[in-house]
Amino acid sequence: MNKLDELEAESIFILREAYCKLGKLGMLWSIGKDSTVLLWLAQKAFFGHVPFPFIHVDTLRKIPAMIEYRDRVAKELGIKLIVHTNWDAVKMGASPALGRLECCRLLKTEGLKQVVKKYGFDGLIVGVRRDEEGSRSKERVFSERNAEDSWDYTNQPPELWNQFKTDFPKGHHIRVHPLLSWTELDIWQYIRRENIPIIDLYFSKNGKRYRSLGCECCTGKIDSDADTLDKIIAELKTTNVGERAGRAQDNEDSYALQKLRREGYM
């Protein structure tokens, strides 16, 4: 087995474990490359019969092409998709003008909390990777969130031998992270190997491309001529620019993402 085979097998094992051990389950689909790989792995794990819905927390500020892509792929694959927006926050006028972190908290963190409550999810599958940034590198595969959705990263259970946290009080939920061991490069190599249809915003146009996707207002492009999978892979092998460098909210303060995540951000 090569590394991609191993990663695939491990992620499938995790997805099946989540389905078997957690009650009500949903998978976050952010339209980006990671959660699209996750969607693909779920199809493989359950032989094309994914037994849980996909969830998209729509901030109404996403790049329009993302929404078009979302609706088209959902229809093609025939998946069950829940789209949720924190309308209270939208009506209150949530925007980066309140501060980017506050905007993220309202539209994404709060939006996410609302779906969890509304549908009573016990488990939420999320495509975060350990190599994305510091606080994610501390994550567990099955990571508990309390009734307030907060994450106590100083007191996490050990994850021995693929035995995950499957016992927790009612009202808590588990964030399941099947892609935790993958790197950005693994993701792209897997996309190439499996021929996974991916949104074209990642490919260079006029010398610029998105490396990570988010809200239109807070996501910048990077300088790049990579307009094919091969070129993206070649580019990643040599770059030393951080993956989330284009994500403005992270740069608000050094521990921005850690703060957001403690409160329930993905």
């Binding site: 094992f13 510091g134 590198s137 259970p157 050990p158 031998w161």
Partner: protein
């Protein structure tokens, strides 16, 4: 080639983070921003550039100066990719160290050349051996502080070798280096003219990652059974061995036999006829038994797993509450879950001091113990020595994983030790336990046998042990149980109740093998009378001093012992 998972352990401040930082720095695996940041800290505080800081992902850690949780870092050499798990050395964070180390292919034990082997060096080495990590390397760090002395290196290396030997571990290699100076990490150094072994990086690249799982027997624990269409798909990950369409298989614990008709797939391009260790598969079998999660599939001709509702295991405990006799926990082994009650704690070992205690009632946080569990149902499993994946488990206390363990053996009956039985009569004896004086801890220890042993009339008994030497003919007088056993020609001659015992002029001993100072029928009767009159422990001690020889048949030997 796939990725190699490695872990660095060792006493706090012996230099794990520095060595890892160095490795990443010298293999150019870090973004420039990180290096600049650490340089800035050094400039601002006026201190030296700390390679250890390169790893700190969290603000809290930098403030405390210790690593809170394991961090996982990737880097690659020309040969392959690596995943480093940085296990913390701080006492309180044992569980993180275990979490990290449990999944490693190889481990590096960092020992400070000046300070030598310390408490956590031993504790971590002990845990690594318990976790079944076979490839253990030793890094003797801070050689710059001892003037790159070969002699000092030899001393530290010998110390650690002796200790590891007591754990039945032979280190793959012992490397002298300096994390700070970068000597022997990625480049050889003039300072080590006396050292001809490879650098750390050369050593890493030479570690074989040949997957021993592949050739072995099939073990496929059932993870789930799906019925999305008319087929019943058994899902699971192959832990060892391989399978193909048409193979005859058995499903344990029941041992039902059937054969594989199909391997399920999603897209046409994933279609296949066979699969092997590591793969997550879906199989369809000819006979639709009621298969369920937790069962283990093997090929029909394979050595079957053990089936039992009792097992003996080494357990390390991380829970807030003590693990104690009589309590029940959820035991999760591969995909099985079963209620497990602690029947007996044979002994405990304090993971810090390695002090052991026989016949304990509870296991404290950070303790390791040898325990007999009684399971609510019979399950299929393996001895850890044979198959790791189906021979290890975690224990859940309430909502939390509170311990981990490895199976030493299936236990067919309750743990009783050595038993002499004659029909209805059955007596326990500690005749074959070993007694010795531990030269390191400076105390006497009695070490119980771990297997149940049953002796009936006609059975031969062992007469020589490490600390005992019995004659061929003697009688055992069991005062508390009111029984006797006569041994003739090193065989059990008769077993009976004390009231039926007839004194003979022959060596006598009690159930622990202590000689009895009695030489006539009268004095034997007097001995029994006095025993019945005992009212407190003080009188018991006086009685014992009057009547027993500690060393008539036993010899107190000197010994050292770190391990179970």
């Amino acid at each position: 080639m796939s990725e190699l998972k490695i872990v660095f352990v060792g006493h706090v401040d012996h230099g794990k983070s520095t060595i890892i930082g160095r490795l990443l720095h010298d293999t150019k695996s870090l973004p420039q921003g990180v290096v600049d940041k650490v340089q800035r800290i050094a400039d601002e505080t006026g201190k030296n550039f700390e390679f250890a800081y390169l790893l700190d992902a969290f603000a809290e850690e930098r403030q405390q100066g210790i690593t809170i949780d394991m961090t996982q870092i990737k880097f690659s050499t020309r040969a392959r990719e690596y995943l480093i798990i940085d296990a913390p050395g701080h006492k309180e964070f044992l569980k993180n160290m275990i979490s990290g180390a449990a999944n490693a292919n190889a481990a590096f034990l960092v020992v400070d050349a000046q300070a030598g082997v310390q408490e956590q060096s031993r504790r971590h080495a002990y845990l690594l051996s318990l976790l079944g990590i076979k490839k253990i390397f030793v890094l003797v760090n801070k050689m710059d502080l001892v003037g790159y002395s070969e002699q000092r290196f030899r001393t530290v290396a010998d110390d650690i070798k002796i200790f590891l030997a007591s754990l039945s571990v032979t280190p793959e290699k012992i490397i002298p280096l300096s994390g700070i100076a970068g000597d022997n990490i990625t480049r050889r150094s003039e300072n080590f003219s006396w050292y001809t072994g490879g650098t750390l990086i050369e050593t890493l690249d030479k570690i074989s990652d040949v997957d021993e799982k592949i050739s072995a027997t099939l073990r496929l624990p059932i993870q789930d059974v799906y019925k999305f269409d008319e087929r019943r798909i058994i899902a699971g990950r192959i832990e060892s061995g391989s399978l193909k369409i048409g193979d005859k298989i058995k499903i344990f614990p029941e041992g039902r036999e059937t054969f594989i008709t199909e391997l399920a797939y999603w897209q046409e391009r994933d279609k296949k006829k066979s699969a092997r260790a590591g793969e997550s598969v879906g199989i369809i079998v000819a006979d639709e038994f009621f298969n369920k999660r937790g069962e283990i599939i093997t090929l029909s001709d394979d050595k079957p797993p053990k089936i039992s509702n009792r097992l003996r295991a080494s357990v390390f405990w991380m829970g807030k509450n003590f693990l104690s006799v009589g309590k029940s926990y959820k035991l999760k082994l591969a995909t099985t879950e079963v209620e497990a009650t602690v029947e007996k704690i044979i002994r405990t070992v304090d993971a810090a001091t390695l002090v052991r205690q026989e016949n304990a009632r509870e296991l404290k946080r950070n303790d390791v113990g040898e325990i007999i569990f009684k399971l609510k149902d019979k399950i299929a499993f393996d001895e850890f020595g044979r198959f790791q994946a189906t021979g290890r488990f975690v224990l859940v206390d309430g909502y939390d994983v509170a311990g981990g363990g490895i199976v030493l053996s299936a236990q067919t009956a309750e743990f009783e030790g050595t038993i002499f039985r004659n029909g209805e009569l059955s007596f326990r004896a500690e005749l074959f336990d070993e007694f010795y004086y531990d030269v390191e801890r400076r105390e006497f220890t009695q070490v119980a046998e771990t297997e149940n042993k049953l002796y009936e009339v006609g059975d031969k008994i062992p007469t020589n042990g490490f600390s005992f030497n019995y004659p061929a003919n003697f009688d055992i007088i069991l005062l508390n149980a009111a029984g006797f056993v006569k041994i003739r020609g090193a065989k059990v001659d008769s077993i009976g109740q004390l009231e039926d015992y007839v004194f003979e002029k022959i060596p006598l001993m009690n159930g622990r093998g202590f000689g009895l100072k009695v030489n006539s029928a009268e004095s034997f009767a007097e001995f029994l009378r006095r025993f019945k009159a005992i009212e407190n422990v003080r009188e018991l001690a006086d009685f014992s001093n009057k009547y027993f020889f500690l060393n008539q048949f036993r010899e107190l030997k000197f010994y050292f012992d770190y391990v179970i």
